[in-house]
């Protein structure tokens, strides 16, 4: 930690959050909101005189409320930066008439009540997302009575209790009477592996964290009665089984079964009822303290960041990697990498490993000092352009410029163009060519797909990043769906031109599906809004012409939704079966006129 603080190449912004990210791989513009610390970071020597003078007492977050701190404080002794921080919401001194005691106490004059939040802009080439996790809140699991009984603690609270630098100096004392606990129970999978409450995934670290805690307890208190209530112990990593065996040998009781109820005894001890699934007996265990091994959940900031950076999430809510085996560190967006629990629950060793991998991947991208641009960009046929300005309006990257007043034809900034193809789809004059996904290239696929057994075919357009990946995921999961689906890949659903749909129906397609990323998840910022508008427009036209609008479907399918992809395909097949040959012939006739 201290290495970060003094490294000449690292600029550290604490109390800071990302407000906005613009640009593209190699050249991102990041705006950062840096909140006021009210203490000069460089001048403060962390002497602590200010905190001594401060009259405001608040629960200490670092110790999870098991101790208190002042309104001006250092989070913990080894904090980096070591400077104190003032919580303006708690401080009385914003009105110096009321307080201002810390100001007087600080000899160096580091405290400044008038410091304000700052917006900083940084220009970077790559981004590592290492936003970590939040722990599960066990209050909803009423059977464990976390909110009712003080002697039921979370694993993180227990960490602070047994920590030599913690509120009790490492003594494991019961919160109710501050007496040493003689017996402790641990409940595993709290907020993990449950279909009902919390996550349905394994949080990866809680088994070993509990094993570690039992070993520490046995080291400090060899006679303590320790019980672990579990479903199964997952000690899968290097050296893990050894620790688990050591814990068992040292006399820790492992009981297979999770508690059904927890009740408080008159002496504030706890009666824990559990069905021991190894023996089939209902057992009541009397314990001084109960520790809930909390699972991990995605950090609260995940969704906002996901939207800002155009990333994807797993069904669990953690960030989705570009490929689970071959690109486990990369985001699908070039130049963005994941490290640590942001990508999924993992222990310290795995976090460090992934972080080093992320750094190596970022260096691999940056070391040449230049970057090859996307070749799949759009271009304008100047003589066909009528300067209507539609392309500039729809481009999510402002990569197209056109002067509507002076009638200067559109031009594309290829460095800024990301290649979604929305401009080409929206241009009313066919004046824009989307390279590698031209009208001609896609229409060839449409016509070939519908050449034979046309009325049995389901024509699907899928965007590369979400729906096509979702189709791949259905394959990886071996989900079976009707084999008459013919899928055409575009980079973005925004590329799906009206004429692809009309041509499909004209060629006799019974049903057509347009699929893309969920709204808000579009890889090209918000290009799929145009898909939605366009499909609505086509629906209206279909209704007007007397073609059943249901025959054109729009679905948002993410990269992680393999199951949904297969379900949508089943739904499309049902829909296709409702379309009669007469109906198709009528449509073909209508569209030929």
């Amino acid at each position: 930690m201290t290495d970060v603080g003094r490294h000449p190449r690292i600029t550290l912004h604490t109390l800071s959050e990302i407000k906005d990210v613009n640009g593209y791989v190699g050249n991102f513009d990041v705006s950062i909101l840096k909140r006021a610390r009210y203490v000069d970071e460089n001048e403060c020597t962390a002497c602590g005189d200010c905190a001594e003078a401060c009259p405001v007492i608040r629960p200490d977050e670092f110790n999870l409320g098991l101790s208190s701190r002042r309104a001006i404080f250092s989070p913990f002794p080894q904090a980096v930066p070591s400077a104190y921080v003032l919580n303006a919401n708690e401080c009385l001194g914003h009105n110096p008439v009321v307080c201002g005691k810390c100001l007087e106490a600080c000899d160096k004059g580091c405290i400044d009540f008038h410091m304000s939040d700052k917006e900083i802009v940084e220009h970077v080439g790559s981004i590592v997302v290492a936003t970590g996790f939040d722990v599960y809140d066990p209050t909803e699991l009423d059977e464990y009575a976390y909110s009712r009984f003080e002697n039921v603690l979370t694993s993180l609270e227990f960490e602070r209790l047994i920590n030599a630098g913690g509120p009790t100096g490492g003594e494991v004392l019961r919160p109710t009477d501050r007496q040493p606990a003689r017996s402790i129970g641990f409940v595993q999978c709290v907020g993990s592996r449950s279909a009902k409450k919390g996550g349905n995934y394994c949080s990866n670290i809680c088994c070993m964290n509990t094993v570690k805690s039992t070993l520490m307890l046995k080291e400090h208190y060899p006679d303590m009665d320790i019980k672990v209530f579990y479903i199964d112990i997952r000690a899968f990593g290097k050296g893990f089984e050894e620790l688990y065996t050591r814990s068992r040998r040292s006399g820790v009781h492992y009981i297979r079964g999770l508690p059904g109820t927890v009740e408080e005894d008159p002496d504030k001890g706890l009666s824990v009822a559990v069905e021991n699934t190894a023996t089939g007996n209902l057992e009541i265990h009397h314990l001084d303290m109960l520790v809930l091994a909390l699972g991990l959940k995605p950090a609260a900031s995940t969704q906002r960041l996901q939207e800002m950076l155009g990333l994807q999430l797993n069904p669990d809510g953690f960030f989705l990697e570009a490929h689970p085996k071959l690109q486990p560190v990369d985001a699908a967006t070039r130049g963005i990498y994941y490290a640590g629990c942001a990508e999924g629950p993992k222990d310290i060793k795995e976090s460090v490993t992934q972080a080093s991998a992320a750094a190596a991947r970022a260096i691999r991208l940056m070391h040449k000092g230049e970057i090859t641009t996307e070749a799949i960009t759009s271009m304008v046929i100047e003589e066909a352009c009528k300067c209507c300005g539609k392309c500039a309006e729809v481009c999510p990257y402002n990569a197209v410029t056109v002067d509507v007043k002076k009638k200067i034809p559109a031009s594309v900034n290829t460095a800024a163009c990301a290649g979604c193809g929305t401009c080409a789809a929206e241009c009313p004059f066919d004046a824009i060519i989307m390279n590698h996904f031209t009208d001609g290239q896609i229409l060839n696929q449409v016509h070939t797909a519908l050449e034979e057994s046309t009325q049995e075919k389901i024509l699907v357009f899928a965007c590369n990043w979400c729906s096509y990946a979702g189709a791949d995921y259905a394959g990886v999961s071996r989900l079976q769906y009707p084999p008459n689906v013919r899928l055409i890949r575009t980079m973005c659903s925004g590329r799906v031109d009206e004429k692809f749909i009309w041509d499909g129906f004209r060629a006799g397609a019974p049903v057509i599906l347009v699929s893309g990323c969920h709204i808000g998840d579009c890889h090209y910022i918000d290009a799929n809004h145009w898909t939605e508008k366009r499909v609505k427009k086509v629906h209206k036209k279909m209704a007007k012409m007397g073609i059943r609008p249901e025959r054109l479907q729009l679905e948002w399918i993410s990269a992680a939704e393999g199951v949904r992809f297969a379900e949508v395909m089943d739904g499309m097949e049902k829909l296709r079966q409702s379309v009669t040959p007469e109906e198709i012939a009528e449509t073909v006739q209508l569209l030929k006129e």
């Binding site: 800071s16 913990f76 009208d439």
Partner: protein, 209 residues
């Protein structure tokens, strides 16, 4: 250039392409469900296809070598690989064609594994029909593909690390020690994250800070 542009908007074939089609077995991943030889035979009948064959593992070294040899021998200028998802091996095959002088954008893939053999395991005949269609679609597309060039742009050799827990710290240090500038952004008043709250950590049972 302009004539070319219009030609390709209309889907015209600019010159007489020479296309090679390779239908990959992927061991049994594809071949167990799809009749790869039949798919290759069907593709051979298509316009502009000069050579079409099925192949054990297209991505393997011998597989790639076989395709490269064919490209040289038959003067192929476009290649369709019908194998797994382009999201997996498109870069591999683009590099392969590029190494023998073909523009990487004149490579097209048909997804016979993730989107055919694996999802229609109980319907081998229908899967084979679909595979034929997918290869035909790929050939119809590749006939009108145009070579593309990538440009190079300057890049900022600096990384933003969001989050100052153990992962963010490690990534920042590794980058900085390799002489890259790092901006490390942390929401809290200090870095350290959850790790700083732990006393001992497994499996080594030592201090975390």
């Amino acid at each position: 250039m302009e004539a070319n542009v219009l030609a390709h908007q209309n889907g015209d074939v600019a010159e007489k392409p020479r296309i090679g089609v390779y239908v990959c077995h992927c061991g049994l991943n594809i071949a167990q469900t799809v009749d790869c030889a039949q798919v290759a035979e069907a593709a051979e009948q298509l316009t502009d296809v000069v050579i079409s064959k099925d192949i054990g593992y297209a991505c393997s070294e011998p597989g790639q070598q076989e395709m490269k040899d064919d490209i040289m021998e038959f003067g192929l200028d476009r290649v369709v690989v019908a194998s797994c998802s382009p999201r997996l091996h498109e870069p591999t095959f683009r590099q392969m064609v590029q190494s023998v002088g073909i523009n990487p954008y004149l490579l097209e893939m048909a997804n016979l594994r993730e989107q055919c053999s694996w999802v229609h395991m109980n319907a081998p005949e229908a899967a084979t029909r679909k595979a034929v269609d997918l290869v035909q679609m790929a050939v119809s597309r590749i006939r009108v593909l145009q070579p593309l060039e990538e440009e190079t742009l300057p890049l900022t050799q600096k990384t933003l690390v969001i989050g100052g827990g153990v992962a963010g710290i490690q990534a920042a240090l590794d980058l900085a020690d390799n002489d890259y500038d790092v901006v490390l952004v942390e929401k809290q008043p200090t870095i350290g994250g959850t790790m700083a709250q732990l006393d001992k950590t497994f499996p080594t049972m030592d201090c975390s800070i």
